[in-house]
């Protein structure tokens, strides 16, 4: 299948740094794509090129196989930047109408779509209110509506959940799934790894302007697994280091659960067999895959000073 968006060898240099340094990847139609990286990795610059705000110094962006032309294709993109805001003194309804018209919708079209979304999110009563009267969560919802209302093929959300309570976050999350199901492609940029694991099909990790990871979440976890297994037993004292595995962590919240790292070339069934032979009562035995958070830290830590500023929640 032809990818919806295809970046090849994109480069963007600023006076002092290479913000994006030869990055290529494809995004499949209908996928929820995670763009990850620590602060200053070049994510925002990359997104600004995809949205046509910046022109790349080199490389090419293709949308549905055709060269991306910001002037024509802007209509197909919905972008919710990380630095997002609204006119404080403007009425909500007028503001949504204004921004939709700037996206290229006719007034009548915009009106109809705003009504649909306002109804959906139960925002009809907001129409004549001003943004300064809204809570942060409410204005986030409004932002989201403004981003998706012209039914773009590509929706780009930069940290969409920041400042949202779990209820509203779920509302938006469900909407993201629904949009993807309807065929929209979503780029989701964040450094909140647990959200990425939950939502994204495919991720790319960038750091210092380069792509350092590209794949589906499941593949990447497989790729970074370290033969670590969790053994849960009623008699944890019976488990000792041996030639098959070594214990790496006893201090779990559950004292009956022990993490072990298998020695080289040891299959997991050998361990299971050993445990049975030792007559250790097994409650559960399973492989522990690294979290994206662990992978992220492992990959980024080497390249950055310890005092790097990314959220690690």
């Amino acid at each position: 299948m032809e990818p919806l968006l295809s970046l090849s060898h994109l480069v963007k240099h600023y006076a002092t740094q290479k913000a994006v340094d030869d990055i290529s990847f494809d995004i499949q139609k209908g996928s929820i794509f995670g763009l990850l990286g620590p602060n200053g990795a070049g994510k925002t610059t990359l997104l600004r090129m995809i949205t046509g705000i910046f022109y790349p110094d080199a490389g090419e962006i293709k949308l549905e196989g055709k060269h991306f032309d910001p002037l024509l294709d802007i209509r197909e993109i919905g972008y919710m930047p990380e630095e997002r805001g609204l006119y404080k003194k403007m009425k909500i309804g007028e503001q949504a109408l204004y921004l939709a018209q700037l996206r290229g919708l006719s007034k009548a079209d915009a009106m109809e779509k705003i009504k649909y979304w306002f109804e959906k999110f139960e925002m009809q009563s907001w129409w004549n209110k001003k943004v300064e009267d809204l809570s942060k969560g409410m204005s986030q919802k409004l932002q989201f509506v403004i981003t998706v209302l012209h039914e773009p093929k590509l929706i780009i959300l930069d940290e969409p959940f920041s400042g949202l309570d779990p209820l509203n976050a779920n509302l938006i999350k469900d909407e993201i799934y629904a949009l993807a199901k309807k065929g929209s492609t979503i780029i989701f940029s964040t450094h909140r790894m647990e959200q990425v694991e939950e939502i994204c099909d495919h991720i790319v990790l960038v750091n210092l302007g380069k792509k350092i990871l590209d794949g589906t979440v499941a593949d990447i976890k497989q790729q970074f697994k370290e033969s670590i297994f969790a053994i849960e037993t009623n008699q944890p004292e019976l488990i000792k280091d041996n030639s098959l595995f070594s214990i790496i962590d006893k201090a779990d919240k559950n004292p009956n659960k022990i993490l072990v790292k298998l020695s080289n070339a040891v299959a997991s069934n050998q361990v299971l067999k050993y445990l049975i032979e030792q007559n250790i009562p097994i409650v559960s035995y399973n492989e522990v895959l690294p979290s994206l958070n662990d992978i992220f830290i492992q990959l980024v830590e080497d390249t950055q000073a310890k005092a790097r500023a990314f959220q690690n929640i």
């Binding site: 006076a15 600004r48 949205t51 046509g52 705000i53 022109y55 802007i74 993109i77 972008y79 919710m80 930047p81 630095e83 997002r84 805001g85 609204l86 006119y87 404080k88 003194k89 403007m90 204004y98 921004l99 018209q101 700037l102 996206r103 290229g104 932002q143 403004i146």
Partner: protein
């Protein structure tokens, strides 16, 4: 282009619908009229009266120093510098003994210091008295002197400008008034609407809406839409002011007493040349109103208003984009805006100072250069145009000034757009003028 139009509409309507706009539109003309009337009123009524004790060892100045509204001269005995206050005088004037015609010091001591104008008046009165004394010495009687003083003030200078074979009555006072007023108006509006652009851009940046918008439109379109929208607000405001002033003047004229209106009409019909009897009948105020209407009628209003609108728009566009560039690099701190604005406000203030000089001497080389260089041309050229086109400002100078102004604002807009599109998306970094200039001249 369609999107710029949407932006212009928003910038325009959001400001024009604002209550503050309506308030300013109607209050400013009222305030100006009030200011003029008020200052006229106070210059007649609001002044203090000074009672001055004159110590005159010559016994000469009595009856020679004429009293006026503000100055009362008295010649009491037993008053000196130690007791004039307790005797109820505000000042004491000590005359020297005459010794031939030597220059001598006349000393004025006051409880509260006297204004410059009053001092000048006293000095003038003393000198006139001395002049009279000298003429008297030369054998001219006081009564003759008095009648000469009364009847000598009859010359009235009428100046004409020669344009080819025609000659036109020129009115330097009116030209100066119009030039000064339009220069001042451009100066004030440049600040008002320039900072309005600055604040608008800052609002978009600090509210973090800039990136949302520039993902739909080009930064240049956003900047231009804002500038044009605010310029249109300015034009609307001027239009409303003109309407309000014309209406107020009309209403004011209508409120005049009937016989005064008749007199003014008679003066108009006879071109100011009524018979001696009619002239005498016409009251002083009717004559003033007629004179006012007459000079208004001789002024080339279409030219002045047309040029005013051109130079307001040109000057606004020239400076507005610079204000927009500054607004785009400011972060949360309004203090930054102040210091970054300084290089823009300085030439505006400087141009205003030049305007005040040029209005006295509209034909100097400085006047020419200042009305051709776009930094100052909007104000300076307006000051000169009121003296007459093409007599004071030849057509080619006017054309050159307009062309440089158009070129100037195209250049500032182009350079500012490059600063703007970088600055508007940059957060948390303090930007200096050096960096801004680097962005402005960067390639692509």
């Amino acid at each position: 282009m369609h999107k710029i139009w949407i932006i212009i509409q928003r910038e325009y309507t959001s400001r024009v619908k604002n209550k503050r706009f309506l308030l300013v539109t109607f209050l400013v003309p009222l305030l100006m009229v009030g200011l003029i009337v008020g200052s006229a009123y106070f210059s007649f009524k609001g002044t203090e009266e000074r009672k001055i004790a004159v110590v005159d060892p010559n016994g000469f100045f009595k009856d020679k120093l004429k009293n006026s509204n503000q100055l009362k001269f008295e010649f009491p005995k037993d008053v000196d510098t130690s007791n004039y206050q307790s005797k109820g005088y505000s000042d004491i004037l000590l005359m020297p003994l005459f010794e031939g015609d030597k220059k001598a010091d006349y000393i004025l001591r006051s409880k509260k210091s006297m204004g410059f104008n009053l001092q000048e008046t006293i000095s003038y009165k003393i000198n006139t008295a001395i002049e009279d004394r000298m003429l008297e010495k030369a054998g001219i009687q006081q009564s003759i002197l008095d009648s000469i003083h009364k009847s000598a003030q009859i010359a009235e200078l009428k100046a004409y400008e020669d344009e080819g074979k025609k000659s036109k009555e020129s009115n330097a006072a009116l030209a100066m008034g119009i030039g000064y007023a339009s220069g001042l108006l451009i100066y004030i509006t440049m600040f008002i609407y320039g900072t309005m652009v600055l604040r608008g851009v800052m609002e978009e940046k600090t509210n973090r809406i800039a990136e949302v918008i520039v993902s739909s439109v080009k930064p240049f379109e956003l900047m231009l839409g804002k500038i044009i929208g605010i310029g249109a607000v300015g034009l609307t405001q001027f239009l409303m002011w003109i309407i309000v002033v014309v209406t107020l003047t009309g209403v004011g004229m209508g409120l005049l007493p009937d016989d005064m209106q008749n007199q003014v009409q008679q003066l108009q019909q006879s071109g100011g040349q009524m018979g001696a009897a009619g002239m005498a009948q016409a009251s002083e105020s009717a004559k003033n109103i007629y004179a006012f209407q007459h000079v208004l009628a001789t002024t080339n209003w279409p030219l002045i208003i047309g040029c005013f609108l051109f130079y307001f728009l040109g000057g606004f566009l020239f400076y507005a984009s610079l204000f927009a560039a500054v607004g785009s690099v400011v972060n949360e701190d309004p203090q930054d805006a102040q210091s970054l604005m300084f290089p823009i406000t300085m030439p505006i203030i400087f141009s205003y100072i030049i305007t005040n000089v040029v209005i006295q001497n509209p034909n100097t080389p400085m006047a020419f250069w200042a009305s051709v260089i776009p930094f100052s041309s909007p104000m300076v050229m307006m000051a000169r145009i009121s003296y007459g086109v093409p007599s004071t400002v030849p057509y080619w100078e006017l054309a050159l000034s307009m062309v440089t102004l158009i070129g100037g604002f195209l250049l500032t807009t182009w350079l500012s757009a490059k600063i703007y599109r970088t600055g508007i998306l940059m957060y948390g970094k303090k930007v200096t003028w050096k960096e801004m200039i680097k962005w402005a001249f960067a390639k692509s």
